[in-house]
């Protein structure tokens, strides 16, 4: 085992290291985090398929272990293609990649009336009512804009984000009114809002789960104590009467212990008497023929033993 002294030093070293690391994160957040994070194991890798006029993206979003699907549809034009975009190409210090849990997409639309408007719909059961759609256009300042998408509820917890885009408008990445629209962006949820919200709910969730278990045990315990009390009532010696007392002393086991204590005392007394009798030597018959010193001493010892035996017998009988 480690000594107390070495533990104190370990604690100091850990505190110092964490303080230094925190300072680094605060001073150089981007670089320090990149150094800590290392390989991005959670980067979403969408796979696309086409079902009629709908393009479906299947991906494992950040902070999820199972895959989700996102449907892309367009009204007022033809959806040409959708592809995934690496966030690094659109990274800006003011934007946190973790807010974009389901990746960035490049949505290409053809056959748009020149200078006209279209509606791009993005549907998924992964979205929530607070999910927004952010558009990335490097020609604008700032390049990231909230598209003010409509968030529409559908059955089975599906949410639909609807973005209105004008050909050649600020959301059109090519910037030209040419009958083609390229919309780059992605659904955005607040990372910290989700992290802290779920944290709060789950911490109290543990209290709720263990409280339910506590109530269950208390309830079943009461039933068991009542049943034990009923069993012990006939012939119980000194069985508890009050409910509180009953909770301290299980009636059945106590009754058994009182009875067994009496039996044990009786057995112990019997054993004691038996052993005492066996230990006491039987008196020898006296012979008065010899009168030397040895004989007198022996006679005296025998008399003492007889006297002792008589006393023990008397005591045990009384």
């Amino acid at each position: 085992m480690m000594t107390r002294h070495s533990t104190i030093w370990l604690a100091r070293a850990v505190a110092l290291f964490l303080a230094a690391a925190l300072l680094a994160v605060l001073l150089q957040p981007g670089q320090a985090r990149a150094f800590v994070v290392g390989t991005d194991f959670e980067k979403p890798k969408p796979e696309f398929s086409r079902e009629g006029e709908t393009v479906v993206a299947k991906l494992i979003p950040r902070a999820k272990s199972s895959s989700v699907t996102i449907d892309f549809r367009v009204s007022g034009a033809r959806l040409a293609a959708v592809r995934g975009v690496d966030f690094e190409t659109a990274a800006r210090p003011e934007v946190n990649e973790k807010n974009f849990k389901s990746a960035l997409f490049d949505i290409q639309v053809d056959d748009v009336p020149v200078g006209g408007k279209i509606r791009v719909s993005i549907l998924s059961s992964f979205f929530t009512r607070s999910t927004a759609f952010y558009v990335y256009n490097p020609r604008l300042q700032p390049p990231w804009t909230d598209a003010q998408a409509e968030n529409i509820d559908h059955p089975e917890r599906v949410q639909e984000l609807v973005v209105t885009v004008a050909d050649g408008g600020p959301f059109d990445a090519d910037g030209a009114a040419d009958g083609r629209i390229t919309l780059t962006g992605g659904p955005r949820d607040s990372f910290w809002g989700y992290a802290l919200g779920t944290l709060f709910i789950r911490f109290f969730g543990i209290f709720i789960v263990l409280s339910v278990l506590m109530v269950g045990i208390l309830f079943s315990g009461r039933i068991f104590q009542w049943l034990e009390g009923r069993k012990s009532r006939p012939g119980a010696v000194g069985a508890p009467t009050a409910g509180a007392a009953a909770s301290e002393k299980p009636a059945a086991s106590d009754t058994r212990s009182v009875a067994s204590a009496e039996v044990a005392a009786a057995i112990a007394t019997a054993l004691h008497l038996h052993i005492v009798r066996r230990r006491t030597t039987q008196p020898q018959p006296l012979s008065s023929s010899s009168t030397n010193a040895w004989a007198l001493s022996g006679r005296s010892r025998m008399m003492d033993e007889r006297q002792q035996q008589a006393r023990r017998t008397y005591r045990s009988r009384s």
Partner: protein
């Protein structure tokens, strides 16, 4: 064959078939780390049952060109990779360990005083505080959850959750969890003394009521029903835990219970330790993250201890019969180490104050609480 060809062949053999020319500095560092853990386990008796196989796993996989953690040409896993794949990746070993733990556990103190379950919940505070802390440092949500669970002081739960959410952190998380579990007698007492007054430490608790065999027998069934209904994601861990306990309490499968407690537990511990150690290859392990994990692990333990004691203080505001706040620290699930620490601190305050059985309640609640926290995290990321 000319001398040039012999020379070329020799060089080829040396570079492609022997390890020495391929040994890199990072591997030497990892071998040194392996020796440190083996030394701590053997010479200092520091969690030897786990650190010996973990240390040896680190030792073995950090030699160059060793066919241990790779995948063969036909997709067949190599030796330790097979242990890892079928034992940890398939989530079998942590659940089997929970089976053994269940078979070893006497829930009597918890059944006799169910209020202590709340302490087990309060002691999960560190799990969530660490979760936030690691997020600030740039960890992902899944990584943060797997690091946070270290404070629950439950090795198998940590391994189970990490293997599910962030397998690349398995070695560091397991090592931090087991290291700090061994250091419970050193980490907890200062916090316990800081958070209690001498009078509070002397509080004597009423003797626990005896629990009948029938109650103990039905407990795993009742607990499994309630917990699995509320958190289905925790069914593999809790199901095995309660099954092990049911085998123990039913009394008709003594051989099975004995096997789960001893032989089976020992076998899976060997494979668990080796597999966890083998995940610590130099290329993956030597970075800033493991150091941060060790740092946060310590904070996690401290906050969990704090949370447990704080929960007792809060409970005492509402209870007629006060609880000794020292039992709060046992809310972390290092069974029975943290219960013993509570008992030892209680004896220091009053030599007649025997807290060990009272502390076993929160200790067992901690096991359930940390498994519940793991289940919550798993459900969150499903």
């Amino acid at each position: 064959m000319s001398w040039d060809q012999v020379y070329e062949l020799l060089i080829s053999i040396l570079t492609t078939q022997t390890g020495l020319p391929n040994l890199v500095f990072k591997q030497v560092i990892m071998l040194a780390i392996a020796f440190v853990f083996l030394y701590l386990a053997v010479a200092k008796k520091y969690e030897p049952l786990l650190l010996v196989p973990i240390g040896f796993g680190i030792f073995l996989v950090n030699f160059p060109l060793v066919p241990l953690m790779g995948v063969g040409e036909h997709g067949t896993p190599e030796l330790i990779r097979a242990f890892y794949k079928y034992g940890i990746e398939w989530e079998i070993i942590p659940c089997v360990i929970f089976l053994g733990l269940g078979a070893m556990t006497d829930f009597g103190p918890l059944i006799a005083n169910p209020k202590t379950l709340i302490i087990g919940a309060g002691a999960q505070l560190g799990v969530f505080i660490t979760y936030i802390g690691t997020l600030v440092f740039g960890f992902t949500l899944k990584e943060a959850a797997s690091v946070g669970i270290i404070g629950g002081a439950d090795g198998p739960t940590t391994i189970y959750l990490t293997a599910k959410l962030a397998p690349h952190l398995l070695g560091a998380n397991a090592l931090a969890a087991y290291s700090y579990m061994a250091m419970v007698p050193l980490i907890q007492p200062p916090i316990m003394r800081l958070m209690t007054t001498p009078e509070q430490r002397r509080i004597k608790m009423r003797q626990l009521r005896p629990v009948s065999a029938t109650e103990k027998l039905l407990f795993p069934l009742i607990a499994a029903i309630l917990i699995i209904l509320l958190i289905p994601a925790v069914a593999p861990l809790m199901g095995m835990f309660m099954f092990g306990n049911f085998m123990r309490e039913c009394g008709v499968v003594k051989r099975l219970s004995d096997t789960a407690q001893n032989a089976l537990m020992n076998i899976v511990t060997i494979f668990l330790g080796l597999s966890v150690g083998a995940t610590m290859e130099a290329e993956k392990f030597l970075s800033l993250k493991p150091l941060l994990i060790f740092g946060f692990g310590l904070i996690d333990f401290v906050v969990c201890t704090f949370g447990g004691i704080l929960t007792v203080h809060i409970m005492n505001l509402f209870l007629k019969e006060k609880l000794n706040p020292l039992i709060g620290s046992a809310g972390v699930s290092a069974v029975p180490m943290s219960a013993r620490v509570s008992h030892a601190e209680g004896l220091k305050a009053d030599p007649d104050n025997w807290l060990v059985m009272h502390a076993m309640g929160p200790n067992l609640a901690g096991v359930i609480g940390s498994a519940a926290a793991a289940g919550m995290f798993i459900a969150m990321f499903q």
